[in-house]
Symmetry: C2
Subunit: 685 residues, 2 copies
Amino acid sequence: MGYTDTDKLAINTIRVLAADATAHANSGHPGAPMGMAPVAHVLFNKVMRFNPKNPKWLNRDRFVLSNGHACMLQYALLHLYGYALSIDDLKAFRSVDSITPGHPEAHDTPGIEVTTGPLGQGISNAVGLAIAQAHTAAVFNKPGFDVVDNYTYAFLGDGCLMEGVSSEACSLAGHLQLGNLIAVWDDNQITIDGDTNQAFTEDVLKRYESYGWQVLTVGDGENDLDGIEAAIKAAQAVKDKPTLIKLTTIIGYGSKLQGTHSVHGSPLKADDIKQLKEKFGFNPEQSFVVPQEVYDLCHSASAKGAAAEEEWNQLFAKYSEQYKAEAADLVRRQTGDLPEGWEKSLPVYTPADPAVASRKLSEIVLNKVYAAIPELIGGSADLTGSNLTRWKGAIDFQPPATGLGDYSGRYIRFGVREHGMGAIMNGMSAYGTLLPYAGTFLNFVSYAAGSVRLSSLSQVRNIWVATHDSIGLGEDGPTHQPIETLAHFRALPNMMVWRPADGNETSAAYYVALTSKHTPSILALSRQNLPQLEGSTIEKGIKGGYVLHEQEGADVTLVSTGSEVCICIDAVKELAEKHNIKARVVSIPCFEVFDAQPKDYRLSVLPDGIPSLSVEVMTTMGWERYTHEQFGLNRFGASGAYKDVYKKFEFTPEGIAKRAVATVNFWKDVPNIRSPINRAFQQLI
Amino acid sequence: MGYTDTDKLAINTIRVLAADATAHANSGHPGAPMGMAPVAHVLFNKVMRFNPKNPKWLNRDRFVLSNGHACMLQYALLHLYGYALSIDDLKAFRSVDSITPGHPEAHDTPGIEVTTGPLGQGISNAVGLAIAQAHTAAVFNKPGFDVVDNYTYAFLGDGCLMEGVSSEACSLAGHLQLGNLIAVWDDNQITIDGDTNQAFTEDVLKRYESYGWQVLTVGDGENDLDGIEAAIKAAQAVKDKPTLIKLTTIIGYGSKLQGTHSVHGSPLKADDIKQLKEKFGFNPEQSFVVPQEVYDLCHSASAKGAAAEEEWNQLFAKYSEQYKAEAADLVRRQTGDLPEGWEKSLPVYTPADPAVASRKLSEIVLNKVYAAIPELIGGSADLTGSNLTRWKGAIDFQPPATGLGDYSGRYIRFGVREHGMGAIMNGMSAYGTLLPYAGTFLNFVSYAAGSVRLSSLSQVRNIWVATHDSIGLGEDGPTHQPIETLAHFRALPNMMVWRPADGNETSAAYYVALTSKHTPSILALSRQNLPQLEGSTIEKGIKGGYVLHEQEGADVTLVSTGSEVCICIDAVKELAEKHNIKARVVSIPCFEVFDAQPKDYRLSVLPDGIPSLSVEVMTTMGWERYTHEQFGLNRFGASGAYKDVYKKFEFTPEGIAKRAVATVNFWKDVPNIRSPINRAFQQLI
């Protein structure tokens, strides 16, 4: 406490920088940065522990701007506190190839923990960061050695509170009693459409109380700096509940239009900026000015953070002596590398092994590797027995008080909350010490599309165990049978969608998913049993696509994934015996990975001179990239025993053979058939 | 009140039918039907007003089974009360082509209002049904003529409560003070993973109170029939709040495993069914038996419903005399036909008209047609000023008590709740008197993927006004710029994704979207201005694809959508002047509609003998179906002024020309180039 005029000047500097940058960009959101500048100052200057010279220090407090459109607030802070973000970067706000894009992007900008902007995601990421902290602390802290004891702070606006993803994540956060999570709600009573009373009249604090949160209020978020600090301290003091602080602010504080939705998403006009600067004692003729005493104040807080890290380094050095293995493990985890030799645990299959559903194959992998990969932590959206995501003897991640597990547990009961689960995984990945996975039916990964997209954009590693991946789930019917889902996520940049055909391919999928540090994965897994294929190996599988069954002088290539590959193998016999047609079979369990192989290799898999037919029980969309003809399902499925459903839609050896014959006939007069791998030009990447 | 042994027998009949059907199918969920049989009986037998002989009677009470996996409960009820659903249909539960699929599907089964199963959707649909009732009543009811005064009842389980979509919809329902909505929460303390205390320990009633709902409890949901009925009556009595009744039940009531998660999703074993039947006085040797007195009891309730409809018919006949126009309008609305001549209101453009953003063109359409189509009702997820979804002078749909509008208002402030908005639209469409639309950024339609999918599956008509449709939104950056979104929804069966290039195409998109009774639409609309194109007409546009610019002896076809079409037109000049290449231009604003055209027509648009190049600033996935080469964006976008972003990714006349030249060169040695329209075989539909 004991705030001075320099604190006020620092707060007003943030406001003026936000006004300057949005005006300079002629785009952006000045309102929330101006309204939230005081709480941001208190948090960064008096409370949070961080070192701008090492934004990746493990035990830093995490800050998440869930209302990501207010990013000029965060960019201004990063600049003031000495992160590698210059005044020129602020001037480049919202311009191409800057590190100050329209919404915060974690992979580009030092000091940004998670990519936010799509509303509701950041606060849900924060729940994931808090889970990761609690787990890491439970695993690594020792008496006298609190090597991990950071807090996670999040700012959020009304929009974040309205989004269902945050409801899911915050309900779970309450259940999990995450006392290390402190959220500040920017209660400015304004949304884009105007006053919040148009659509948002619920009692937010009561709702968060119902989730099991502590709730606090600060009535004057623009001036009551002591009150803000006291609230944050009170939040820290409660160890078994997350806290939501309702902070009443005035959007666009200082603007002539303060308190109206006009300052939400449009730059202030020139005369407004002029009066703003005059009011706050800035020279209205100058822009992007930071008074030296403000730099000094901020840098001195940063210096405290640097000293804290130094102190922590000493603590960790002692810890390393006493707990050598743990320390080495913690260091290794932060590199993203897995423990040496872990891959020896991956199961390998031969055709003599029994037919097994790939969801079960996934369970076998988890049971084999969990001990070798201690950072692996996962769960399910209340489908554990269906997704088979829990290894034998796993301990649940639960507050000890529940008697159901403890924070060192590596199995998370997410509840029926797919979107929250996805956003929580993104936060857990971002923490730096964990490798999260989560299960649901493939069809319901779509519920989490918003968070899945952000995992790709922010380049985090996590894994969706997406079982019941097709009409092969049978009786549950069209409401649960994916048709468009694989196309959707295959079209998402930096996302690996795997659909393994057998045990070796499942191991391959896990191998690549677990070792790709900057790419998330979706593993589409069958409910029904699949035979172990002749010709599949992990080595071939990790190329994303390969020739499973070669044939000299083949007339057609059958190209397939997952549960249809074995039917294609049967179709080969059918074609040979009944139609005198020679077919080869290609398996492409992952487009994204196959696309990354050298062209020569891809052409060897899908060569010129022979027509190809894809076979997959989903939309054909996307398959035209790899094959000349496509057999798929451009309609919804049906409820029934899976064999009946496959039969209804002719996904049988006979049905495939029929279309292979049509393919051969259709292409037989075309000279020099060109593989679709050949393209006129390269795509931009 | 005054429940008899026959009531108990009817309840037990439901339980036994649920056990029989799931056992017979060897699949399904007996637990919830057995636990909820009492409340279902009270509701259907003593409370609800419906006529099984006319399941579409306008003023029927609506029933939604949000926990759709419990559908054997609903199928049993439909059978018992005399809907067109026989004992044989129950025996065909979960078998291919039955009308009793694994989850309830509205388009297939008489008496099913909305398609449920994906959790959280049904209760959100129910909010939409309640909104539709409130609006229809406000518009059509007259003193002495309550032609629309039905209630909407919904059953939901813990899973529905955990899903964010229901949080969004129920928060809005509280704000909207929907007293006509009554939900019964099956509080059985069990989810698939086991006890709800593993993940779901929030205070649900407190949460619903925070939303502004009335909350009631019934402690013994298996036996206290009077208490159940009293709670429903108490819910009806409160006119300005929706009600949530917490009904404590025992999952799988009557089974040896009652109260455990073992009865949730697996049929009961034979010996368990035997003891169940014995306990309830049924012959354990017989299956699918309904005692005659149960039929009698149920049919007598149905007869009351039929009489109620008859009474209503008389009321409506009088109403029709006194309010001729209103009555005719109400009758017409239920056919799905629009008022005659409405299409004359659609704006038509010539190249002389100024360049306008297609989001603005959409606003112009809404302003022109709203008076002609009184069932059109829409809103936005708090982006009204960006989506331009509000016609001039629109009245907000608000509870009169707020002073912000009234229930006759046709503009809905959905708040930042995209998923809830989508599910609410589905419910509104299902009511039968409304044609809903809703706005958000295209990128955030993905938040609603779960409900969008169900709109397609359940064949309802509604419209997403999806603005800011590409990297053309500029400064907001990659977090907001769709890349995979069009591919995702184009891959969804029975979904029309439109991306109009100018004013006439925007009118065409609206024409088809508004007149397609059984297909939802997404209109992808630009933020940036687009010129009015030479050669576009509404008539061509409604074919989904057409030749915009023909050229004798063309070397290449440029195929594009939306904001890239005008750049292709400029590329034609560039190609002619700098490369001596003749290019024609095809616009395909909607794949789904173009695909439905006769093959001859499609081949005239994309003919043999000429290579084609698609141009769209998104993933190329899916374009391989129409073109030989693809220019797109298989990576995330960038934050910056839109022209800078287009330039960065070379979506300029020069960038297109460069790739057109590569296309021509790559294909020049191929004889008899085949149009991708030609296929070896037809897809199943």
